[in-house]
């Protein structure tokens, strides 16, 4: 019954899509009000997709195992919270969530943009409907979440235990809001191109959507990273893994777009560039989904999945790229650049964009090069983290310095370049502090000094600028947050320490400055898993820390997960992860000291808050 409701609402939604495509072509030329039929159809479509999503959610809640997706990914012993998150914890459900967000966003667009040009609104609806139709076809024909199993099984297979985690439960919806927000940016840019509507009014509307996507993408990436940090127990928060990279690429693009829309809004400049960025952001988000879902990317994050679905997404992606290229080259007029001087806010933003594109390029090459090489030479390779670190970190030095200077320049031409006394003092101060920090290292003193001082200088400047009335609050908050983020990341990577050892119960071992002791282990049955809690003592300079790391043995499906024991303080995290090997008495123990982890998360949140402030101001 539930399956039928879900299925039919999807099919009806597909029919409304076709109606909408037809209506928007037919009414494109009309310059009266927005056609009533369009408004009704869009609302109807959102409601239908909503119904189908709620049906799936409900099937998961009541554990309706006649549904294949529920059977594959749920279990009656699973806690309610994870039954709900199980809805999007699988391929079919997550696509339905994509679709839901797609249709909700276009509804919001229709109701929020009444003041804008009518043909532009209709065309945006048209392009968005193209995307929605594609997704509907994809869901109905290749990944239908409402497939029946006959006879109905009495028990499900369970959700992958590693996904049963609060951070990961909300990670996909947040990330998707970011990804899908870029679809409106895409549709509205194509529409604006065709209607020759690429003006200030459009730019300020585009900016809102860019901000929304950027906020959610920032938070989504952070949640994924938090999850990897404590659930995978690798003792890091970023591994330059392909799956992480595909979420970072649209972020670079969006950040560039965010800055560049200001130029379009204030100075009617950089029009073509804005459009290119807007289009590529969505293409990158889509490719990200495609690469993750198809299993083409060789990532440690990859889950077993069906490569045939990839072909559909690949075709869909190609069609979208072809459409955008055709429209871009057909409708984009040669821009008459308004004159700007070298030392101006515009130039600073253009430089920011160049850096973003460089970072994007590096990540892109590192992510897809292995795929190309395998297709061409059959050789299998992976690109290690040093590649990314070597190519990105040195370029952060000029980037951060420019970020410190850029925001205070004037539009068009900077009138006076005030090299105030305080600024020079701050610069000297940051170099001095950095040197004191870096001189503890035998190698690369100069490099570390430069890097830390660039980040510190940006931090000092951002702090002194907080009082500056001329600058926007959102920009001040985000830039300060970014400087804290970078400082924390640098210090974290410089000062992290780790030791690992295999111990039997009661044994202890001295490793460099740390004495590790495996005190005890206890067993407990909880909900749907068996918990093994170890007691580990770490003694460092007469300072004793007790840790209780946990191993969870799940029965359905049969898996083990480690839960790290983390002691968090503002300046440093101490964590212990354990693992065990069948048929041995040894416990595999790793102790890590990770400075400034909390600051990394807090500054990422602050970054998003900065975006939120900007969004609020734009809606006034």
């Amino acid at each position: 019954m539930l399956n039928l409701i879900g299925n039919y609402s999807l099919i009806l939604a597909l029919i409304t899509s076709f109606i909408l495509l037809f209506l928007s072509i037919k009414n494109f030329k009309s310059d009266s009000n927005l056609n009533f039929g369009i408004v009704v159809s869009i609302s109807l479509q959102s409601i239908l997709i909503c119904i189908s999503f709620l049906t799936l959610l409900f099937s998961f809640i009541i554990s309706d195992f006649s549904n294949l997706a529920v059977y594959n990914n749920s279990h009656t012993t699973k806690p309610m919270f994870y039954r709900i998150s199980g809805t999007w914890g699988n391929h079919e459900g997550s696509l339905l969530l994509w679709l839901l967000v797609l249709s909700l966003f276009i509804s919001i667009f229709v109701f929020r943009t009444k003041k804008l040009l009518i043909s532009f609104r209709i065309l945006t609806i048209f392009f968005q409907q193209l995307i929605i139709t594609g997704f509907l076809l994809f869901i109905i024909f290749t990944s239908n979440p409402f497939q029946l199993i006959i006879p109905t099984p009495t028990e499900g297979l369970g959700l992958n235990p590693i996904l049963q985690d609060p951070a990961l439960a909300i990670h996909p919806p947040i990330l998707y809001l970011g990804y899908v927000g870029t679809s409106i940016i895409f549709s509205s840019s194509l529409a604006a191109l065709v209607c020759r509507y690429t003006n200030k009014e459009w730019a300020s509307d585009l900016k809102k959507w860019t901000l929304i996507s950027w906020i959610f993408l920032t938070l989504g990436i952070m949640l994924g990273s938090i999850w990897a940090y404590y659930e995978l127990g690798w003792g890091g928060f970023w591994f330059w893994d392909p799956v992480e990279n595909v979420s970072l690429m649209p972020w670079f693009c969006l950040t560039a777009l965010l800055h560049c829309t200001s130029v379009l809004e204030k100075r009617s400049n950089l029009k073509s560039w804005t459009i290119i960025l807007a289009l590529s952001t969505f293409i990158l988000s889509m490719s990200g989904t495609f690469l993750v879902r198809s299993g083409i990317l060789n990532s440690v994050h990859t889950f077993a999945n069906d490569p045939e679905r990839g072909i559909f997404v690949l075709i869909f992606l190609t069609v979208l790229i072809l459409i955008s290229l055709t429209i871009y080259f057909k409708y984009n007029d040669i821009e008459k650049l308004t004159r700007s001087f070298l030392l101006s806010k515009e130039s600073a933003i253009v430089i920011n964009n160049w850096f973003m594109m460089y970072f994007l390029g590096v990540v892109l090459v590192g992510t897809i090069y292995p795929i190309f090489l395998e297709v061409i030479t059959k050789e299998k390779i992976s690109v290690g983290p040093p590649y990314f670190n070597q190519l990105i970190i040195p370029f952060l030095i000029p980037f951060l310095f420019i970020m410190a200077i850029g925001p205070k320049l004037d539009w068009i031409k900077n009138k006076k370049f005030d090299a105030k006394f305080t600024k020079i003092i701050l610069l000297i101060l940051s170099i001095l502090i950095s040197y004191l920090i870096a001189k503890n290292f035998n190698t690369q003193v100069l490099y570390s000094t430069l890097l830390i001082s660039a980040a510190l200088y940006l931090f000092f400047i951002s702090i002194t600028d907080l009082k500056n009335e001329k600058l926007k609050l959102s920009q001040k908050v985000s830039h300060t947050a970014f400087s804290i983020l970078i400082i924390s990341i640098i210090l974290n990577s410089l000062f992290s320490e780790e030791v690992s050892v295999n111990l039997k119960k009661g044994e202890e071992k001295q490793l460099s400055n740390y004495l590790l002791k495996f005190e005890n282990i206890s067993k407990m049955e909880i909900d749907n898993f068996t918990s093994l809690k170890a007691e580990i003592h770490v003694i460092h300079n007469d300072n004793k820390l007790k840790f209780y790391p946990e191993l969870r043995l799940y029965k359905v499906p049969e898996t083990i997960t480690s839960e790290a024991a983390i002691k968090t303080s503002l300046f440093s995290d101490n964590l212990v992860v354990v693992n065990y090997l069948k048929d041995t008495n040894y416990l595999n123990i790793r102790y890590q000291k990770k400075p400034f982890m909390l600051l990394i998360w807090l500054s990422a949140i602050m970054l998003a808050v900065g975006g939120l402030i900007g969004l609020k101001k734009n809606f006034k």
Binding site: N298, Y369, N588
Partner: protein, 139 residues
Amino acid sequence: MYGKKVKLRFLFLSLILAVLILTIFLVLKSLEDNVVYFISPTDIKELGEIDYDKKYRVGGMVKKNSVSMSSNQINFIITDLKSEISVKFSGVIPNLFSEEKGVVAEGFLKDRNFLNASKILAKHDENYMPPEVKEALKD
């Protein structure tokens, strides 16, 4: 001959071009240095020349009864059912590491029969087999 403006523009363009070429060169160089090749135990036997300063990823299955543990290291054998290689590793093993399951170990080769691993890669899914391992086991 040419105006000052044209000269300036030409200078600017060539500067951009130079930076672009330099960047591409940098990216390619860094890529070449940091690529890790994936090979199976059989590939190692068949390799003409082994670069002992380069990292390799060896994939296959953990041989039954081959795992032995001591306080500071873990030893095991990776097999692709045709050839085998011994692996020494000290550090943290992933949750799903177990005998007769797929594994990928990354490190430096000491000789054709011995890998000094610095990392063992985790998988998230008990059904998941790294594509390389699947292929290595297939043929």
